[in-house]
């Protein structure tokens, strides 16, 4: 029901919003003193509250990085959990300042929805998970003809699923829920034979099932799912801040700047590092973005560089143990590439 409420509120907000005067998002955020960040309702590794109620994950940390860049203080973030259906309306209506919620970048969302994607914080692809104990002998998604498939509504996943079964001339019956928890519960209860979502998500969800060892993720990847944060279209300054926060995380990793050594690095004489950390004399790369010159120092101090963020949340430092793979830096054979700060 909540999405309807948000839909109506969104529609109402659009109706009552003063049409002419709209201050930039940066000014609004600074004025209220915190960043309102839209996250998922709980996807391990991306955005999920821990036992103390603190939001953990790559997506949550990205918002902290933006807050660190804006305020110099990563704690100035408030998180709004959103279902897949609610997310875009929440951003459009101004309820949140940034959407960092494992959201796939597509042309339609970038153009017709009034959103602006700032980058790809995680390159993902859609896969299938099955209960190997109940379905022995199934080891490929191509054997799933006739299966009941659990999927979350209003996602690209739902569309890819339809395309994949159509392309391979297979039948299936979709079991569609609005909330992630409902999909998880239905799959766990045996309502469906297979669960489909982004592969990273499947690994995260598997950990929350009643007997994780019984479930296997099938090898097929059926789509490209570049996941990244998005901001409202039409506010270039705010989009630049979000985009360059992401690039700063990548550049910090490439330059070897970590949470531990960032203070030492400030004395570096490497001009590349000096420009990044704002220690270059007369450099004003931060100020040009509308931030302080030591913005990257604040970001790295708060959440580390991209690699640290990855390992802590989904990589070797987490229960998910996902390999960097295509999410490695371009220098290590991956796709993550940050344009230079200069």
């Amino acid at each position: 029901m909540k999405h309807i409420a948000i839909g109506i509120l969104g529609a109402a907000a659009l109706g009552f919003m003063a049409s002419a005067a709209s201050a930039g998002t940066l000014d609004t955020v600074k004025q209220k003193g915190f960043l309102q960040c839209g996250v998922s309702t709980g996807l391990a590794g991306f955005s999920a509250p821990d036992d103390k109620g603190d939001w953990k994950g790559i997506d949550a940390d990205f918002c902290r990085a933006v807050a660190a860049a804006v305020f110099g203080d990563a704690s100035k973030v408030k998180f709004t959990p959103l279902s897949a259906k609610e997310r875009f309306t929440a951003l459009q209506s101004g309820e949140i300042d940034i959407l960092s919620r494992n959201t796939t970048w597509t042309s339609n969302r970038d153009s017709a929805l009034g959103l602006d994607f700032v980058g790809v914080t995680y390159y993902d692809g859609q896969g299938f998970m099955i209960n190997a104990k109940k379905l022995p002998g199934v080891n490929s998604a191509l054997q799933l003809s006739g299966a009941a498939v659990c999927v979350q509504s209003g996602t690209t996943t739902e569309l890819n699923l339809a395309d994949y079964f159509k392309k391979n001339k297979m039948e299936y019956n979709p079991v569609v829920f609005e909330k992630l928890e409902e999909v998880n519960a239905a799959y766990d209860a045996g309502r469906c034979d297979a669960y489909t979502t982004d592969q990273s998500g499947l690994y995260g969800i598997r950990l929350t099932l009643s007997s994780p060892a019984d479930h296997v993720v099938l090898p097929e990847i059926i789509s490209k799912e570049p996941l990244g944060p998005a901001v409202r279209q039409g506010d270039d300054q705010w989009a630049h801040i979000a985009r360059w926060t992401y690039f700063a995380l990548l550049n910090a990793e490439e330059a070897g700047i970590t949470q531990a050594n960032v203070d030492e690095m400030k004395t570096s004489t490497d001009p590349n590092i000096q420009r990044l950390l704002g220690t270059e004399p007369d450099g004003k790369y931060g100020a040009d973005l509308g931030l302080s010159n030591d913005w990257v120092v604040n970001i790295v101090k708060a959440v580390g560089n991209y690699g640290e963020m990855f390992e802590r949340n989904v990589g070797s430092g987490s229960p998910l143990k996902i390999a960097r793979g295509i999410n490695a830096l371009w220098t290590k054979g991956g796709l993550q590439y940050g344009p230079p700060v200069r």
């Binding site: 999405h3 659009l14 009552f16 509504s153 209003g154 609005e178």
Partner: protein, 395 residues
């Protein structure tokens, strides 16, 4: 009253400000102007803000390919169909659940309502407990109760419970054999229609005869014999053109047959059992609202308790029952939007998906509101006709 008439007859001639008619005209005009200008302002603002935020608007998206699948499709639908067709599928699913729910709720509600007035202590108490439980739990919880209950209790597809007549029950739903009609089965349909027409005619004649001569005719049993007998005769004559498609075990699920999904089943049970509790109270109030003298007078005429209820009490009670019953039907239809919680693809769920895939929140919510409004108005309209026919005809 009289003194007011006199006052109105002699308005103070001095100023119009004190003239009540001019005053009320002025305020009514003011309200209308305010209402329309605020509507205009909101619409104008929405359009302007949508443009400013670079959000596509308009209803053009309805003609685009939907791209997603829907689990229950009463009409042909694939992922290649349009968003519009997806919305129609959702609307039909809402109508199906609403109609099925209304029928079941009415039957259960009437039984429970009459049961609460029973002479039998046990029946009376059971009905009271039923009403008090279901009336006081939010419908969403009842839905979850049924849904989780279905999923928790029933076995997985490979260990389905075998029921008589080749039906199966498992976590994925209720599987029944489906009737497959072969050529020549149109004869059975014709026979059924004919039987209904004849039954109506017999009833009509029997009433006339009773009015004229006082003689009664066993209308009920004759009708039953006609409505069952004629189609059966047609069935035999046309060479039994009926086979059954039985559900069979396949790799994942049972296939074939007629399949009722657990989402539909739990939503139907939850909505109708919930609403039935309110209907029971309305029915009880209606029956209680018929004065005791009516029952006593009917008894004095020599009628037994069954005919008293059927011929005297219920027709009068219906006058009290129908208006609040309409509200319950409307509530049930609107509560069906809770389907989204368990993944039954009703209008709210499919329109929500469409809304999300296209990002057109304003249009999506607008379509949903109009659709529910139209459904409710149609229900009210039908119930108003029923109500008008039931109204006491004074003689």
């Amino acid at each position: 009253m009289a003194s007011q008439e006199i006052l109105r007859g002699e308005p103070s001639r001095g100023s119009f400000i004190n003239d009540p008619r001019i005053r009320s005209l002025f305020f009514q005009t003011l309200v209308v102007i305010l209402l329309f200008s605020s509507i205009w302002w909101i619409v104008h603002n929405v359009i302007e803000n949508l443009q400013r935020l670079h959000i596509a608007s308009g209803f053009g998206f309805l003609k685009s390919r939907a791209g997603f699948d829907i689990s229950d499709t009463p009409i042909a639908y694939t992922s290649d169909s349009t968003y519009f067709r997806a919305l129609v599928v959702g609307l039909l699913n809402t109508i199906i659940i609403a109609v099925a729910g209304i029928v079941l709720a009415t039957i259960v509600g009437f039984l429970i309502g009459i049961g609460r007035l029973s002479q039998n202590w046990l029946i009376r108490k059971i009905c009271t407990v039923y009403v008090e439980i279901f009336r006081n739990i939010p419908p969403l919880l009842v839905i979850f109760f049924w849904y989780s209950g279905v999923l928790a209790v029933l076995p997985p597809p490979r260990e389905s419970i075998h029921l008589p007549l080749g039906s199966f029950l498992n976590q994925r739903g209720f599987y029944l054999p489906r009737a497959v009609w072969a050529d020549g089965s149109w004869l059975i349909g014709v026979a059924l229609l004919l039987a209904i027409a004849m039954a109506w005619f017999v009833a009509h004649r029997a009433r006339q005869r009773q009015r004229a001569t006082g003689q009664q005719f066993p209308v009920f049993w004759t009708s039953v014999a006609l409505i069952i007998g004629l189609p059966v005769l047609a069935f035999l004559l046309s060479g039994m053109p009926l086979t059954f498609d039985f559900p069979k075990q396949s790799t994942f699920n049972l296939t074939g047959g007629f399949w009722i999904k657990p989402e539909f089943l739990s939503l139907l049970l939850a909505l109708s059992f919930y609403t039935a509790a309110f209907i029971a109270e309305i029915v009880r109030a209606g029956i209680r609202g018929v004065s005791k003298g009516q029952t006593e007078a009917a008894a004095a005429l020599g009628l037994r308790s069954g005919p008293i209820l059927r011929l005297v009490v219920i027709p009068q009670a219906m006058r009290i029952v129908i208006p609040p019953l309409t509200s319950q039907y409307l509530n049930l239809t609107k509560n069906s939007s809770l389907a989204i919680a368990i993944g039954y693809p009703d209008l709210t769920a499919t329109a929500g998906t469409v809304l999300n895939q296209t990002g057109q929140a304003v249009e999506g919510v607008f379509i949903m509101m109009i659709a529910y409004l139209v459904l409710s108005l149609v229900t009210s309209f039908v119930m108003n006709i029923v109500n008008a026919r039931m109204a006491l005809v004074e003689r």
